[in-house]
Symmetry: C2
Subunit: 285 residues, 2 copies
């Protein structure tokens, strides 16, 4: 990847896409940053937060002269946007994305690219950044700084394209880690998708009249449930198999807790709590 | 309660007890603040963080001339310390505590006080403050500021003692809310105890190799699991009935999520996520 890109095209300028734009502008990563948006009003919002030099609803025009195209739309739309971009961008361009699940996106995109014949390179990615907020107004130039981006090549990925993808994210201040789409989806079912649905279930199961008695613990524990339900529906369904497997493991553990409490088995209960704390402490506050 | 107390005795000078001491000193609530500690070294720590004027391992001496005694030890020790204080403090003193569960503490304490015959007034309390950290080093003079303290009178409590208890917490900057010990324990099983055991179970069920892929969501969701396992063992066992009932309600909700994911029922899943978000949004970030 050249030190400076001619054009970076960001498809979907929300929290992640906007933060990529802000970081790229601040680091002078590209001569031109073009955002692809759904509507004129979202284009105005993307421009106002300074994430892109220009915004358009026309994907084909935006990617026409792009060196790098990064798709930051909801997971159910990522493969479609990647394939749309692949048909309109230079053959030399690199395509990547920021979707929270990878197996289906990578499989669908590679299947589509194979039908196109000659096509630009694609390597899937997932930046482990962002939170429950959405929209370009929440974007920050340092959102990716020091954060991990998982780059998920398949057996079809060219080594050169994987390198370029890693360099792209590193040039935005992120660290990269490489793993297969399946390994990514299995890990994320535990670290992201399961916590989301558990948080939503804990919030739902809290009676309204108890809400005034919540404190930091409940607020931290359930915060992620404030995320966009439509986005999360798609993520949970896209990673259905691993999410259910993670839920099964969680239910087994919860069963142990339940038994220890029901049996008034203080020693067992403390051991279980200890295990949880040790696992938690590895990660840091 | 007089504008200024002669002596405030704090039994157990950790995060909560230490924060009460810091707030009381800053607000000149008492002429003298005495901390009761387990050992000389914990006394030194309490003195070093400025939470108390003096520290002693002798509970009887500390409470001898106290106007207010607040017990901030682990829930399994609270009733014992309250009764020990009741035998040694002036009849005019007010006794309260900061325990996270209330039914058993209030019942055990009142049963013990009844045996004493003439005894000082006791009203149970629970400040909804604090986090997973422990020890006087984590204490903050503003920990209670604007936070809710649940005051839990029983049918045996004198109105005057309830008033004094409310005034004590308000004079430290907290808001008070009054409810029965049972109502408190039922609400807290949802807002505090269930999230704790769920967080520990989610942390435990996360495979070690996935931990490097955790981000803000997992960290927020599981943070509370970093709390002291021995303290939480006692809390969960003391509130066993309500905790199991809350766990049952949670499991029903999780069952709905599981079914919607297994059935690929996007509409149902989005509805469930929406419910969770709405409940979460009531509380604010």
């Amino acid at each position: 990847m050249p030190a400076t890109l001619k054009r970076l095209a960001i498809i979907g300028v929300g929290l992640i896409g906007g933060s990529i734009g802000l970081a790229a502008r601040r680091r002078r990563l590209a001569e031109e940053i073009v955002g692809v948006v759904r509507s004129e009003s979202s284009g105005r919002r993307a421009m106002e937060c300074g994430a892109v030099d220009s915004a358009t609803t026309n994907l084909e025009t935006a990617v026409a002269k792009a060196d790098v195209v990064v798709v930051c739309t909801p997971v159910s739309q990522v493969a479609g946007h990647l394939l749309q971009a692949a048909s309109a961008c230079p053959q030399s361009a690199l395509l990547t994305d920021a979707g929270s699940t990878k197996q289906r996106i990578v499989a669908d995109t590679e299947a589509g690219l194979a039908k196109l014949g000659a096509a630009p390179s694609f390597v899937g990615s997932h930046p482990l950044a962002g939170d429950h907020r959405t929209g370009p107004e929440s974007a920050r130039h340092d959102l990716l700084e020091g954060r991990r981006v998982v780059v998920t090549p398949s057996e079809n990925s060219a080594a050169d394209a994987v390198d370029r993808t890693q360099q792209f994210w590193r040039s935005l201040g992120a660290e990269t880690v490489e793993m297969s789409p399946a390994d990514h989806d299995r890990a994320l079912s535990h670290t992201s998708h399961l916590p989301h649905l558990i948080a939503a279930a804990v919030a739902t199961a809290t009676p309204s009249e108890a809400l005034p008695l919540t404190a930091t613990g409940w607020r931290d524990h359930t915060r992620v449930a404030a995320g966009d339900p439509a986005l999360w529906r798609d993520i949970l369904l896209a990673n259905r198999g691993y999410v259910i497997a993670a839920l099964n493991e969680f239910e087994e553990t919860i069963g142990d807790f339940r038994q220890a409490i029901a049996d008034r088995d203080g020693e067992k209960l403390q051991h279980l709590l200890d295990q949880g704390r040790q696992r938690r402490d590895v990660v840091g506050d």
